[in-house]
Subunit: 204 residues, 3 copies
């Protein structure tokens, strides 16, 4: 039977893949290109974490990420136009994915014995690096460097994880509260268009 | 004495390097930049495979890939204009390289004990990821995401490898037939401009 | 107490981070984006070396690189305009960083038992790959492929390292002389706008 985390992970992977496939679609990519971009959003962040932590790449043990991305591609091919009306739904799924992937990344890094500041970086990378690689592949400046708070939501969630962990809160609650804070930060940031200050663009 | 595989590998590396150097040349790269782009096409895919499989990077054991890329650079510097007339020749070499690199990538991944679906992905990556990194370096949208069938030829060859392997065909024949099918698919795709369907580019 | 090398490393990291933050600033990145780009210039080359050599990523053992990049970001936020007048100062620091990172990269690769040609490649990568990743992130063609001699200065310094090492020169002097030659080559290249020949940009 599927656990709650597996359902969340599948949902997050699907939403991440959709985000990649939609952007690839706007650039007239073919099915293969769209599949690759969707896959990269879904597994890119975790893969980068695995490579940097020098552990086995997680997706080689389970074809679920490929199946999930293929389903996302079929979805877009079949219901492309209809997707426009689901924008808000996908935004929620995407934010759920961000929260879940970050918490998973933090936990896995801590399990390997790394200090907390490394875990927060790895968690944020798990959640947001896939989107950066996506933007590189479609030849755009990465969105997360200029728009509403995205990776900073992961960092905030990571710091909350840290505090709760050291105050002895049960790990289930640590996961739920830190994940929830990422979700909430992201939703508030987009709802009220909250971004970090932008550097003055002088050509110095 | 050189084996047949070594001759093929040298030819493929040379053709891949030429493809990178030519594109770098169209962007007014200097000799160093062209060398790096040529090298990346030649060894990028295999390096990515090695990093993901967590084995030693192959080119550190043998400077042949650097020597081969340097020769390709000298070739372009000396005979740049003449290359135009060799377009078809290079296309064949490039397709030979694609076929060989893919088959090598599949075999090496299987030797490490990974399942077949991972081997097919790694094989396709070995053959085609170098071209993706090349396009990122010259700041273009990767060609293989939009044009004639390229990476899909590797996937087709990989599936044929799989079927032949499980029906107990001798490994030499598995290599030759799956490699040949990649070569043939690629040639037919370019000859008849066969591509995958393109996603409708709505800005949804 | 800080060693001389540590002071140099801090200075180089700071200058590399500033170079990334300035370019991110010209592209209207927010503080987070600028931090990431600055960090990538500072640690990208060494991280790539670590991944290819399959050793633990160096910056996970010490948060100094993150602190140093944060300081560089605060510096640019506070004194952005004033930086224009410091162009030459930063150029010197940046070149010092290039020389130091390259020599460190060569030494660490040799310590792992790799041959000299691999060490020179890894040293050059340590010094210059961060700038390439930076340019990919800000969606520009990498500067070092088209402008004054940059990575070739690392190669020259690497060859000098090699010669001195085999003639039995003391390792302190090997480091100083090869590092100095990188610094000198880079300064002369910029002062006299010395570049490598550019490939003729025919669309062949």
């Amino acid at each position: 039977m599927l656990s709650f985390t597996q359902v969340l992970e599948f949902t997050g992977t699907f939403a991440f893949a959709i985000s990649g496939i939609r952007l690839a679609s706007a650039k007239q990519f073919d099915w293969f290109g769209a599949f690759v971009v969707g896959l990269v959003v879904a597994i890119g962040g975790g893969t980068l974490r695995n490579v940097l932590l020098d552990v086995t790449t997680f997706w080689m043990a389970d074809p679920i990420y490929f199946i999930c991305t293929a389903l996302a591609l079929f979805w877009v091919i079949l219901f492309g136009n209809y997707l426009i009306h689901l924008n808000n739904t996908f935004f929620i799924f995407d934010s759920l994915g961000l929260a879940l992937f970050t918490v998973v990344g933090i936990t896995k890094t801590l399990d390997l014995g790394y200090p907390f500041w490394v875990a927060i970086i790895m968690g944020s990378m798990t959640g947001s690096a896939g989107g950066v690689i996506r933007d590189i592949l479609i030849n755009e400046i990465p969105l997360i460097f200029r728009k509403e708070i995205y990776a900073m939501a992961c960092v905030i969630g990571g710091v909350i994880y840290w505090i709760l962990h050291y105050t002895g809160v049960d790990s289930t609650w640590v996961n739920l509260i830190s994940g929830g804070s990422i979700l909430l930060t992201r939703i508030l940031a987009v709802r009220f268009q909250i971004g970090l200050p932008v550097l003055k663009g002088e050509n110095f």
